[in-house]
């Protein structure tokens, strides 16, 4: 049993690569928050999955790590980057030039839709050369590494490097972009829905390859997605976003088997998957709030079956559910009893005993 479940390394929580403290993004003169006071760490050598539906603020979270919030959004708070060697860096204090160097070299980012990231009139190989030279890296060495990465991603290096982007399928382009994002050996790879435009078979194949890349190169990754089951087998930890901040953060097994927030449990139950008896999948009534009218108190209260007066009037803080597992809910314990997970009988003994230890 133990050998077939996903092994969880304990990423070193004493050694965060990125620390966010009260990171907020506002529009409209500071009145509407699209990222709301987020404090969380990305641990070195972990994969953290950030899960959220559209309009939950998950992309803002990704972009805040590179201080690349689109105008006119304003990012406040602290974003600290700790290189494995050298002094910590306050990302929000960097000059434009310093930020340019930080991106790709230290923290790289892959978005959905490789088409818009590649210049259509330039061969793929040229993108690698330009990236290497823009960061004063050795071109020959860099290209040799690029070839290795492409091969790791099941691509033929010669063919891909000599092609124009449009000559490759969507899945090939996205893999080439992942290789490009790794060619400078960044400490952190941030991916925002990197596979969402692809069909499921290609998505899963890429996830599998990322897992192999992660082992081979000891990567740290932040993976943003709306699709919890997709990332469950790759991520060490999950952060569940609702109304512009994470409502629950914990190790993947604990979240999947014993989530401690009503929204997470509802999300798990509403997701079609091959394990759950089909009669028991239930949609979440209502919808996420827009930035301009986030409910008072707990933002989830209008949709939450456990909401009471306290939930409606004051905003819950994070409570520690167990080691490395926090939930922003007054009634996380009741949620576990009262909102049954519809696939849990298929999870075996691990699910029933797991979680609280």
């Amino acid at each position: 049993m133990a050998s077939t479940t996903v092994e969880t390394r304990e990423p070193d929580s004493e050694d965060p690569v990125v620390e966010l403290r009260n990171a907020s993004v506002t529009y409209d003169d500071g009145n509407s928050y699209v990222l709301d006071h987020v404090s969380m760490d990305v641990h070195r050598h972990e994969v953290i999955g950030v899960i959220g539906e559209s309009g939950s603020g998950k992309s803002m979270l990704a972009e805040s790590m590179l201080d690349s919030i689109p105008d006119p959004g304003v990012l406040r708070g602290q974003v600290r980057y700790n290189p494995s060697e050298g002094e910590p860096i306050d990302v929000l204090d960097l000059t434009t030039e310093e930020l340019r160097q930080l991106r790709w070299e230290e923290i790289s980012m892959v978005f959905q839709g490789a088409m818009s990231s590649f210049n259509p009139t330039m061969r793929v190989g040229k993108h690698f050369e330009e990236t290497l030279s823009a960061h004063d890296a050795d071109i020959d060495e860099g290209l040799a590494f690029a070839r290795e990465l492409l091969q790791d991603l099941y691509l033929e290096p010669d063919r891909v490097l000599n092609s124009y982007p449009h000559e490759l399928s969507g899945g090939m382009q996205q893999r080439a972009l992942i290789a490009l994002s790794l060619v400078l050996e960044p400490e952190l790879l941030v991916m925002d829905e990197p596979t969402a435009a692809l069909d499921l078979l290609m998505q899963r194949s890429i996830l599998r390859l990322l897992r192999e890349l992660k082992e081979k190169y000891d990567l740290t990754m932040v993976f943003i997605t709306h699709d919890l089951p997709l990332i469950a087998a790759l991520a060490d930890r999950l952060a569940i976003m609702y109304a512009f901040h994470p409502v629950e953060i914990g190790r993947t097994e604990e979240i999947v088997q014993n989530a401690a927030h009503p929204y997470t449990r509802a999300l798990l139950n509403s997701t079609p998957n091959l394990d759950a008896p089909i009669e028991e999948m239930v949609p979440i009534p209502g919808s996420q709030p827009a930035p301009i009218n986030v409910p008072d108190g707990c933002a989830y209260h209008p949709r939450c079956p456990l909401a009471d007066e306290q939930c409606r009037s004051s905003k819950p803080d994070y409570v520690s559910v167990s080691d490395r597992h926090t939930s922003a809910c007054y009634h996380w314990d009741d949620a576990r009893d009262e909102i049954a997970l519809n696939y849990s009988e298929n999870l075996g003994d691990a699910a029933r005993s797991g979680g609280d230890e």
Binding site: T4, T5, V6, E53, S54, Y154, S169, G170, G171, M172, L198, D199, L200, L201, M202, Q203, R204, S205, R208, L209, H226, D227, L228, P229, L230, A232, A233, T252, E253, V256, Q257, A266, L267, L268, S270, T271, P272, N273, L274, D275, I278, M281, V282, P283, I284, S287, Y343, N346, L347
Partner: protein, 351 residues
């Protein structure tokens, strides 16, 4: 549950596109893309068929061909026994008109925003199909029906929603309007082309439930196109439907939903099963294919079309194209269904 009467019958459908070579290849020959290559399928009354497969497998082309939006280059599409393209071309003497067929076969697209006229309010968008089906309805009657249906799909207060423009709706609401518009045509078959793929995960079940609830009231069949086996399973298993797995223009395996999930026979169905994420946290293992990328449909592999990627492929798979075998509940295009086939004696393919 599906009825006994066949609404649509596809026989040996081929859809081949001529793809003019790019200007760079001077005098290059035009290439033929075999989007659909020999598919036969019957769709019954109140039937549900999910077509699944990766991009480029031909599922959308087959779906569009089945509802008369795409003319096949070979084979026939029959609507209640009559060849729809013969009717279209005026080759047969019948009372069935092309307009009736078009009305009976409807589509909802992946992107509902693009299929709804942005300059018209919902009440006017939804009046149009009512006018076509039932020209004698008064304005008041039309309004009443539209309000009733909007309420039925959870868009309340209906009088308020009816006055909105499409851009004032969420993606899920737009998709419900697209469904309403299709249903008001009283169709026999609705093609749902990746109709839930663009919705948030938590809204997909809701939309599928709604489509299935309304199926009974409106007495319609669905052809449901998806790249996601778990959605296909949810949609078909709730309705006694079938899942058809497509690969490079052919149906590799087809059968009842639960049999396809619990007991897949074709190696490619197994690959799709692997690709469907679950919450068991079990390590699904390496990609169970020899190659990740789908071959160019201009030049499909000889023999079995899956042989270049199939983990079970043997030399015999290069030599001939497998027929469709019966396997318990499914129909399967793979030599492994024939115990006596020379496949079992031939060497494995390893490249």
């Amino acid at each position: 549950m599906p009825g006994d009467e066949v609404v649509l019958s596809l026989e040996d459908i081929e859809v081949h596109f001529e793809n003019k070579s790019s200007l760079l290849d001077f005098g290059g020959e035009s290439e033929t893309v075999r989007a659909v290559d020999g598919v036969s399928l019957d769709i019954y009354e109140r039937d549900v068929i999910a077509l699944v497969g990766e991009s480029g497998c031909g599922k959308t082309t087959l779906g569009k061909t089945s509802i008369g939006l795409q003319r096949p280059t070979g084979g026939s599409v029959k609507y209640r026994g009559e060849d729809i393209w013969d009717i279209r071309d005026g080759k047969v003497d019948t009372d069935t008109e092309w307009a009736d067929i078009r009305q009976s076969l409807q589509i909802i697209h992946q992107d509902p925003g693009a299929s709804l006229n942005p300059n018209r309010r919902l009440v006017s968008i939804l009046s149009e199909p009512l006018r076509q089906v039932n020209p004698n309805l008064s304005k008041q009657e039309k309004r009443e029906r539209i309000y009733a249906l909007l309420e039925r799909v959870g868009m309340t207060p209906a009088a308020d929603f009816a006055e909105r423009y499409p851009h004032q709706l969420s993606g899920g609401e737009q998709q419900r309007v697209a469904l309403c518009r299709a249903l008001l045509m009283n169709p026999d078959v609705i093609l749902a082309d990746e109709a839930i793929s663009a919705l948030d995960v938590s809204l997909r079940v809701e939309m599928m439930d709604l489509m299935l609830d309304l199926q009974e009231e409106f007495d319609t069949s669905y052809v449901f196109i998806s790249h996601d086996l778990s959605n296909a399973r949810y949609f078909t298993a709730h309705s006694g439907g079938r899942i058809g797995v497509m690969y490079l223009g052919q149906i590799a395996e087809i059968g009842p939903a639960e049999a396809m999930i619990q007991d897949p026979h074709h190696p490619y169905t197994n690959v799709l099963r692997w690709a469907t994420p679950d919450l068991s946290l079990q390590d699904a293992g390496e990609v169970p294919m020899r190659k990740i990328d789908i071959p160019d449909p201009v030049d499909p592999p000889k023999g079995c079309n899956f042989q270049t990627r199939c983990p079970e492929a043997r030399e015999a798979c290069r030599q001939a194209d497998p027929q469709s075998y019966h396997a318990e509940n499914q129909r399967v295009r793979c030599f492994r269904e024939d115990e006596d086939h020379e496949y079992w004696e031939s060497p494995e393919l390893t490249d």
